[in-house]
């Protein structure tokens, strides 16, 4: 039996076209894109072709606005630390939200001993930031606002365009962590208005360990990786050309197939949410009902532990996750679920079901049927469940 894989937020399988392109790149033995001879020029041509594909996905006016990185985390660190250090003379205040990825939270935290301060704004019970709160948080010494495009745990999409209007008016840089959005839902830098956009290749079927940072033309920023003059002097280090080739093919496919993929995700997500009450009861659906990633469903199931569900579903060859893979092993409750007001006990029972391009209706049905049994088994041994149902 093959695996029913519903954990695409942690890792997406590579698209077959991406695999072929990467294998061709491995066999081609490209030189160093910075070398002056023919093998170097060939490598440089491949690199710039890839930059154009990725710039196309984001609708950049200039491919040079794309800097290739080792993934979403590097892009986020680059954006936040690079802007903060380059503009620290103007001010040292940063505005962010309570539901950001740890890469954002910890990048900002790293700056605090250097005199930077942060205002972190709350979200509504759907996980959404109110743009007015961003406007209110901006001070004279604010240099940067970092609000994510979509949340990796509950899927909520933030009102990024409205925030961009505010930051533009207030002359503050705006970074958005769009790691789980770019290549999944339309992200158009012309409409979006953010100055910096972090993204990664894996969410749209490219390899892990590869990503990019959109830096709007004219934005002064320090590199995170200092050294050579690669990436138009913005990111030192010889490029991961094989990975970049993979990302570039995935970007082209994402651009071409965006509408069809989103439609498919939506229909599978609707199916899942519609059928869920027939499998289990006493659960919450996390995230915004409308402004939400089409490929992610987060539910908090009462009286049980999400980790147990993950392991028992794994025994039935079904892969889902209970929290961000980046936070696995951490014992603390998800800060995102806390921020939307989930009680500790309910947050423990959270499952993230994330869809991929290969996901089909059968996968949803298999998951729902297995989930019913697993939840029942766990509740049968749950003292919390017994206690709660004693009175009824």
């Amino acid at each position: 039996m093959t695996i029913t894989y519903l954990d695409h937020i942690s890792a997406n399988p590579l698209l077959s076209e991406v695999k072929s392109a990467m294998i061709r790149a491995i066999e081609a033995d490209y030189g160093n894109p910075s070398s002056q001879h023919t093998p170097g020029e060939r490598a440089a041509a491949v690199l710039e072709e890839a930059r154009r594909s990725v710039a196309g996905l984001l609708n950049c006016s200039d491919p040079k606005e794309i800097v290739f990185t080792s993934g979403g985390t590097e892009s986020i660190n680059h954006a936040i630390k690079g802007i903060a250090l380059a503009h620290g003379g103007k001010g040292k205040h940063i505005v962010t939200s309570n539901v950001e990825h740890n890469a954002v939270i910890r990048s900002i935290k790293r700056l605090q001993p250097l005199g930077y301060t942060v205002t972190s704004i709350g979200v509504d019970p759907h996980g959404r930031v109110n743009p007015k709160d961003v406007a209110d948080a901006i001070r004279n010494d604010t240099i940067l606002v970092s609000i994510m495009h979509s949340n990796n745990e509950v899927g909520t999409l933030q009102p990024v365009e409205e925030i961009a209007e505010i930051t533009k008016k207030r002359r503050v840089f705006f970074h958005t962590d769009a790691v789980d959005s770019v290549g999944v839902v339309p992200v158009d830098v012309q409409k979006l208005g953010a100055d910096l956009i972090s993204f990664a290749s894996n969410p749209f079927g490219g390899p892990t360990g590869v990503g990019g940072l959109f830096i709007r033309r004219g934005t002064r920023i320090f590199p995170l990786l200092d050294g050579g003059i690669q990436e138009n002097n913005r990111r030192a280090g010889t490029e991961n050309l094989i990975g970049i080739v993979g990302m570039s093919v995935a970007a082209t496919l994402a651009q071409e197939n965006m509408a069809a993929r989103v439609a498919q995700y939506r229909s599978l997500r609707d199916l899942l949410l519609r059928e869920l009450p027939n499998s289990i009861d006493e659960y919450f659906v996390n995230g915004h009902p409308e402004h939400v990633l089409p490929n992610l469903v987060s539910i908090s199931i009462r009286y049980i532990e999400g980790e147990s569900v993950v392991l028992m579903l794994d025994d039935e060859k079904i892969a889902v996750s209970t929290r961000s893979a980046c936070a696995t092993g951490s014992l603390r409750t998800s800060h995102v679920l806390q921020s939307i007001g989930r009680e500790y006990a309910d947050a423990q029972g959270t499952l993230i079901i994330s869809l991929g391009i290969q996901t089909r209706q059968e996968d949803i049905h298999r998951f729902l049927s297995a989930l019913r049994g697993v939840v029942q088994t766990l509740r049968d041994i749950s003292p919390l469940y017994k206690k709660a149902n004693r009175g009824s």
Copy 2:
């Protein structure tokens, strides 16, 4: 006609075993090593197996001492900035040398607005640091010494073990940029004594964009990439598993074949240096005659420009370089050649010939024969050459 490729310092072709392993990894569709289900566990097992191979190459006592990175530049930035920021409370002085890679020089420079100061020590005409100069430069507020293991432009190996003894005695952290040494010449962390060692996978036949940082057990250091808890909490971001698999196979092969490869490099290097006077005259050999990388020859040819030689040799399908690929496009003279006392004009005529595992005697002969013609052509049109030889 195939290319005679003698620019391995810029980019090494992938070893065939590395290619096969990477292609298998692409086809295997590993999950996210941080996920809790079976696909995640499989990915985690592959990752830890790779960590053991790489730790073996460096003779680490614990594989956890290896942190995977996106390459030498990231490793160097991580080591320098991570130690400086973690120990800035103790002192803010850093000791380095005048011949370091730009990743070292610019990482330190980036720290200066934060109050860090640097003492950069000179080298002898062979490009070698005197350990006594390191000892003299260490002050009470020194926290870090960063001296490279081998120089990427002239090949000189530094007296790293003697420097490590000094730093140990003075309780100062010691980082060595061993990007062009690890996997090429023996680098044993037990003998070497450095606290931090930066390396990359490509110099020993693995892919570009992948590397590692050895962090000796017990060394307190901040991450450069903040975020998730990957890499034992030392480097956030989902790993580039395909690249890491490639590096791991290359590391195993490097460990097994080190002696034979070094012997082959030495014999080809000796051949090149022995035959060179039969091809050209009026040149300097840069670097130390004995303490030098076996796979690199740097020569400064008088009265001509290295860049012209590179382009003319390229027309004859021979690839060499004139300077570090990371500095291509920069108009300044190499700081390394300046440091060893080369005049501006002579430094302009520098060629770096770097050997790989596939290099054969025929490649050396082809290069020597082509070089003779190119140098003669260039000197025939060189006003400098005419002027210098008018008197004779």
